[in-house]
């Protein structure tokens, strides 16, 4: 996976002196441990690493991994999934048009930038069907693209509705005449950059962006949307991301659906598998019980490659590997002792160890 765009110019453009590997002075190099590696993959690709990827990247420098992932097609596929979810273009409203499906490849090839990709999403038939009628369409564009509360900006809503219906008007300071103009004007308004940067930061770091930096990132993105990848690179090399990785974040249902397949089957679920599980989990305010049910269903399905208990010659080493792969850390001495003692009992199967790990609250964090 090779990045298609140059991320390394950004530090200079932001007025910071770059180091020789492109990192800013505020973001020292760190070797990837199991937890950080898992978090980077989950944040950027929406899944943990496969076994081979874990082997390949453990101990490597984080910026090297970022250079490999950022701008790749899998990175943009995950980005697209998150955008579709943000717009609730899911399930029956999921876009199936070739233009939308081509977005990850076109972004990876440098044919599109994130703003143009958003434009493509907003002009898809699915977006129109999801947001039918002038009132809903204009409200959603204002709220989701620009962060404007329509109840406090009734004029923009009314003008937008008039434009939607074919009458002209000045919307967000620009003249529009048709439905597509509403999208175009909103996307090129600086409020879109501000809203987009703020929510992307929150998505990746789990907290609100600091105001001063946010304004600068928004300015850069508004001016040059292709800067997005460079901005994300800065975020993932920042101390803020280090803090986020240390404190752990709850695993979303869509991440859980993918992580479980990768962790147990060493493959990503196909689109239908992920969608079915995610939709079911999204249907519950406390998805914990269903996550637990499904994890056990998958483990007991016969699809998980579990070693025969007798073939595990060093149970402690095997248990430690399971901890590292599933929780991103080594077991403590007490944990290892408790698991080893349980495993020595003939009633405990290798599957029981997996049950314990993937149904525990810690597996719901990353």
């Amino acid at each position: 996976m090779a990045p298609s765009s140059s991320w390394t110019s950004s530090a200079t453009q932001a007025g910071q002196a770059p180091l020789d590997d492109g990192r800013t002075q505020a973001s020292p190099a760190r070797a990837l441990d199991a937890a950080t590696l898992r978090s980077v993959f989950c944040d950027l690709l929406g899944r943990p690493p496969f076994a081979a990827e874990r082997e390949r990247w453990l101990g490597q420098a984080r910026h090297t991994l970022l250079d490999a992932l950022l701008g790749s097609e899998p990175f943009w596929s995950q980005w697209l999934e998150e955008q579709l979810y943000y717009f609730f273009l899911i399930d029956n409203f999921r876009p199936e048009s070739e233009r939308v499906l081509a977005i990850p490849a076109d972004l990876a090839a440098g044919k599109l930038d994130p703003r143009e990709a958003t434009h493509r999403i907003a002009l898809s038939p699915s977006f129109d069907q999801r947001n039918p009628g002038a009132d809903t369409f204009v409200t959603v564009v204002l709220e989701q693209f620009t962060g404007i509360t329509v109840q406090k900006n009734v004029r923009e809503l009314e003008v937008g509705k008039a434009i939607y219906d074919g009458a002209g008007g000045t919307f967000l300071g620009k003249v529009g005449k048709r439905q597509a103009d509403i999208v175009d004007i909103a996307l090129h308004h600086k409020a879109f950059a501000e809203t987009f940067v703020a929510r992307e930061y929150e998505r990746l770091l789990g907290e609100s962006a600091p105001a001063k930096e946010r304004a600068e990132w928004a300015r850069r993105f508004h001016q040059t949307p292709r800067e997005y990848g460079a901005i994300v690179r800065e975020w993932l090399l920042s101390e803020a991301w280090d803090r986020r990785a240390a404190r752990k974040r709850p695993v979303s249902n869509r991440l859980f659906a993918r992580a479980l397949y990768v962790d147990l089957l060493d493959r990503a679920p196909d689109e239908a598998e992920a969608r079915r599980l995610r939709t079911a989990l999204d249907g519950m305010s406390d998805a914990g019980p269903l996550r637990s049910v499904f994890a056990r269903v998958l483990i007991d399905s016969g699809m998980v490659a579990l070693p025969d208990k007798k073939s595990i010659r060093d149970p402690r080493a095997w248990i430690a590997q399971r901890f590292e792969a599933l929780l991103g850390r080594a077991p403590s001495a007490q944990e290892l002792e408790a698991f080893a003692a349980a495993f020595a009992d003939e009633a405990c199967r290798p599957a029981t160890v997996l049950y314990a790990l993937v149904t525990h609250a810690e597996y719901q964090l990353y």
Partner: protein
């Protein structure tokens, strides 16, 4: 009341008043025949014209009104489906983004009920039809309430659909653990110390009950329901099954399929009719259950209406500010309510929150609303 003003007389007076109020509430609660409340957000945007303005569409709601109270002018707010439906539960009308996927700041009536009455998670449920966004109705971000007082939410269509059922049919059910293996599993889980335990919605016992409910329901017929109102029908059916199984104190149902009206007026009218029929089935279950029939109150109300005139696609949007949009009709049926009473005065949709809390014997201290007037016999 300032400290200086709090002399002995006012202190005693205030204390006496508080005690009297508490005693009154306690007596009121103790005498209440209502033990269970079903609150139906007849949502998706439904005008009175297609409900009580066309009685043949909604014979079951009409029947409930004859045996209960009909509020003909319930003022709603065009806050988007999400914001407007949320306001039914919080008693506070606040703008929320149409596609916003975040929890509200104001506590919901579910949190008021669980905290105020000390209810367990299995006592308070929401059955929804609108997917991920609607699970946010469960609880707020308010520091004094939140997840530990939330309602268990089940989205009928999200969970009980043929596709998800087929996955489980393909993979099979989880193996039943024997006693010893379950014990070892519990020991291993208990030994893991890496996550901070937080106040969860379910405890281990209620989580296990929810697991069982899911597995049982998946093998039932809910996943097979079809038609334009399938999502709504599943929500109502899930609520019915929850009601019969758990006998919860509070069940809310949030419907959504009527929003098909944007592009299909006839489809919308059909959804209204089918949802009324599904509510009829729910009422049959309530009336047939000795533990529910004389102790259950049912309240149904749309979150808002729809435009007065058809749009260019011969559908109905919601945004013209008309009376059709802003005033809807609500019906309340229950053992303590008046019969065949029609209220012509204006009330507000947000008034449902304190009304339900009052029925259950608690209060909604942050709601900016008051209980519905002239409800009781």
């Amino acid at each position: 009341m300032s400290f200086e003003a709090l002399n002995r007389r006012t202190f005693l007076g205030a204390t006496a008043a508080t005690l009297a109020l508490s005693a009154g509430l306690g007596a009121q609660s103790a005498e209440r025949k209502t033990k269970h409340v079903v609150l139906i957000g007849f949502a998706g945007g439904v005008r009175t014209r297609e409900t009580f303005g066309s009685p043949s569409n909604v014979p079951n709601l009409v029947s409930l009104a004859k045996e209960g109270v009909l509020y003909k002018r319930v003022k709603s707010s065009n806050l988007g489906h999400y914001g407007a439906a949320l306001s039914l539960f919080t008693g506070v009308a606040e703008p929320r983004g149409i596609r916003e996927n975040g929890r509200g700041e104001e506590p919901t009536l579910f949190e008021y009920a669980r905290k105020g009455l000390g209810l367990a998670a299995k006592d308070v449920w929401i059955a929804t039809s609108g997917g991920a966004q609607q699970t946010n109705y469960s609880y707020s971000t308010h520091a004094d309430y939140g997840e530990r007082y939330g309602a268990n939410t089940v989205d009928g269509d999200g969970l009980f659909n043929a596709e998800f059922k087929s996955i489980l049919e393909t993979l099979g059910r989880p193996k039943k653990l024997d006693e010893r293996e379950a014990e070892l599993l519990a020991k291993m889980r208990a030994s893991i110390g890496g996550a901070d335990p937080k106040a969860a919605l379910n405890n281990a016992e209620s989580a296990a009950q929810v697991e069982r409910f899911i597995l049982d329901e998946l093998t039932g017929g809910t996943a097979s329901l079809r038609g334009p109102n399938a999502a709504d029908a599943k929500a109502i059916r899930v609520a019915r099954n929850l009601l019969v199984l758990f006998k919860p104190r509070l069940v809310a149902i949030v419907l959504q399929s009527a929003d098909i009206a944007h592009g299909n007026f006839n489809g919308y009218a059909d959804v209204v009719r089918q949802n009324d029929a599904a509510i009829g089935d729910l009422m049959k279950a309530i009336r047939a259950d000795p533990a529910l029939r004389d102790s259950t109150a049912v309240i149904a109300c749309p979150e808002f209406g729809r435009d007065r005139d058809l749009n260019s696609r011969r559908g109905l949007d919601h945004g013209d500010g008309s009376e059709d949009l802003e005033f809807v009709s609500a019906v309340a049926w229950g053992p303590e309510f008046a019969r065949d009473r029609v209220i012509e005065d204006d009330v507000r949709a947000v008034d449902l929150c304190p009304t339900v809390c009052q029925l259950l014997g608690t209060t909604a201290p942050r709601a900016k609303a008051k209980a519905l007037p002239r409800l009781y016999a």
